[in-house]
Every structure is written in C-alpha cells, then in structure tokens.
C-alpha cells in the first residue's frame, strides 16, 4: 500500500517544491501518493462512498490552496491526513453525528482470563459467519474508533502519527485502541458462545 511506504522528508520537500513551482504532473503525483490515505480516513469516518469522493476532492482542494503554509514540521502524510480528518469532522458536525462513544466499558471490555484454554485460530478465521460478525462489529463502532483502528492496522501508522492527524493526545489514541480491541474481543467471544 502506497501510504504505508516509508517516505523521507526530502521526498516530501521535493514534491511540495514541485507543486508550488507548478511543475507539470507534480500535483497529480501528490494526489496519487496520498489519495488512498485520504480515502481511508474519510471513508471510515463518513461511511458513504459518494460523500467520501466529494470530501476527498474538498481535501485536495484545501491541500492545493494551503500547501504554501506547510512548514515540514510533520511528514506530508500527516499534514494531508490532518486536512482529510478535519474535512470529515466538519461533515460529521454538520450531520450532527457523534464522533466517539464516550460510554465506559469496563465491565464489557474486561473479558475473563483465558490463559491455558485452547482457541483454534485457523478454524475460527475460516468461519465466514464469525468473520462477518466481526466486520459488523467494526462497522458499528463510532467514527473515531473505526478510523483509529483502520489507520493503525491497515495503514500501519504509529500511535504518534494518528495522534498528529486527529489532534488527540497519544495516550488517548492508545486508550481508544486498547479499549476498542478489548471490547471487540469480548464481543467475538460472546458470539462464539463459549461459557467464558
């Protein structure tokens, strides 16, 4: 995946310089490089393909207009991600949709210890119904948790990079990751129906 490839600051600097100098094909290269990241962030937040497409366009329009303000203080990937996140956030605010579930989940998230018990990973992952159920649980998560999970697991971004994009503290992102994964695990076990 292109967004997960390591890209040095020099390559960002060269690309930004080329875009600002109106070099032919430079902006297209920037869009090619970061459109997947933009799509992932916005799609996980808004979950509507047509709106995602519109919001991706708006994101790159803003990137184009404000690129001269980019100071290389963070990787270009994080900066573009911040723009995409803020565009999606504004969309959710307009639709009056909640960004995050602030309910406590101590009881729900704390599944009992299972040390020593057997769990056949391959059999479980071949169980289409179970996998579909996990996908459904992920889809039912609030936008922020869904986005954080996607960026961390699929785009292989670090907690620090996700914190930079969303504007939350690293501890908050770590807490969301921990809590959401623990909750998902508890729900998976409940689906399997084992008396744990």
């Amino acid at each position: 995946m292109d967004t997960a490839k390591p890209r040095g600051p020099q390559s960002d600097r060269a690309l930004v310089g080329a875009v600002l100098a109106h070099a032919p094909g430079a902006f297209e290269a920037l869009v090619d490089r970061y459109q997947r990241l933009c799509w992932h962030i916005i799609n996980r937040m808004v979950r509507h393909p047509e709106d995602t497409r519109d919001l991706c366009q708006e994101t790159f329009l803003r990137v184009h207009r404000h690129l001269h303000q980019y100071r290389f203080e963070s990787p270009l990937k994080s900066w573009v991600g911040q723009v995409a996140y803020s565009v999606a956030l504004r969309y959710l605010e307009r639709k009056q949709m909640s960004l995050v579930d602030i309910s406590h989940c101590d009881a729900e998230c704390t599944a009992p210890q299972l040390e020593g018990e057997r769990f056949d990973l391959e059999t479980a992952s071949a169980n289409d119904q179970l996998v579909a159920a996990i996908h459904a649980e992920i889809e039912a998560l609030p936008p922020l948790q869904r986005t954080v999970l996607t960026l961390y697991h699929m785009d292989e971004m670090t907690v620090s990079e996700i914190a930079s994009i969303t504007g939350f503290a690293e501890g908050t992102i770590r807490s969301h990751l921990f809590r959401t994964r623990a909750r998902l695990r508890a729900r998976v076990l409940a689906r399997i129906g084992e008396p744990r």
């Binding site: 902006f27 297209e28 869009v31 090619d32 459109q35 997947r36 799509w39 992932h40 799609n43 996980r44 979950r47 393909p49 047509e50 995602t52 497409r53 519109d54 991706c56 366009q57 790159f60 329009l61 184009h64 406590h104 989940c105 101590d106 998230c109 210890q113 299972l114 040390e115 020593g116 018990e117 057997r118 769990f119 056949d120 990973l121 391959e122 479980a124 992952s125 179970l130 996998v131 996990i134 996908h135 992920i138 889809e139 999970l149 996607t150 697991h153 699929m154 770590r174 807490s175 990751l177 921990f178 809590r179 994964r181 623990a182 998902l184 695990r185 998976v188 076990l189």
Partner: protein, 144 residues
C-alpha cells in the same frame, strides 16, 4: 478505563505475530483470540476508491475560480466587517459614549436597522453559496 499493561502487550504481540505470520501456539488462547481480531482488522471491509478518483480530484482542483464567486466572497467579507463595526457602534451608543454623527435621538434605531438588514443579506448569501455548492455536487453525481 485504565490500560492494563499485560492486556495491551497481548494485543500488540498478537498484531506482531499476525504481521510476521508466526505459527499460532494452540495453548496461547488469549493471543489467538486477538490474532483473529487483528487478521480481520488488517482486511477491513472498505469501499474501494473509485478508479478515476485521482483524475476527478485533479480536474476539480484545476477548475477555474468563478469571478462572480470571488466578488461574492469579498462582498460577504465586507458585510461581515460592517456587522462587527455596527455591533461595536451599538455598544458605544448603549454605553452613552457614541458619537452620534448627526443621528441624535435615532442612533440606536439606525444601528439596529442596519444590523438586521446586513445580517439578513449575509445569511442569504451564505444560503446561496450552500445552494450552489449542493447543486455542483448533485451535477457531479449525474452519470456522464
């Protein structure tokens, strides 16, 4: 919720084992449960980006700015600035510190009338811009 260190380490170990493709240890129940989750999370059900997304974005960004829009934005900016000035003026009038500029006795009425009118115009202009943007979106969604 306080992060349990051992639970966090189980989650991260499961992720690493999944990335590295380590053979599962059948006795590591909790790690395997998390590995199932990590496996699914690394292949989420995402709407794929449209094939022509990049072209659409570039053509959208390259659209020339409508001179009418530019004028409208400047006018809107001017009206907002006048609104702010009007609020300050009204405040001064209320505090009895205002220079009445020949509107003695009618100062506040004039200021408030102006504020109501300017507020209405700005509101209609915002509404018009929103309508234009919605229309443009709707047109983009039409099949070619």
């Amino acid at each position: 919720m306080i992060i349990s260190r051992s639970e966090w380490e189980s989650q991260e170990r499961a992720l690493q084992e999944e990335i590295l493709g380590v053979d599962p240890n059948p006795d590591a129940g909790r790690i395997n449960e998390y590995r199932l989750l990590m496996r699914v999370l690394r292949r989420p059900l995402l709407d794929p980006p449209p094939e022509n997304l990049s072209e659409r974005i570039v053509s959208h960004v390259r659209q020339p700015e409508d001179p009418g829009d530019r004028f409208e934005m400047r006018l809107q900016g001017g009206l907002v600035a006048l609104l702010v000035a009007g609020v300050i003026w009204a405040g001064l009038e209320l505090a009895g510190l205002g220079i009445r500029l020949g509107t003695r006795g009618y100062g506040l009425a004039v200021v408030w009338s102006f504020l109501v009118l300017a507020g209405y115009v700005v509101y209609r202009m915002f509404e018009h811009r929103q309508w234009k943007s919605d229309l443009a979106r709707w047109e983009q969604r039409l099949p070619p």
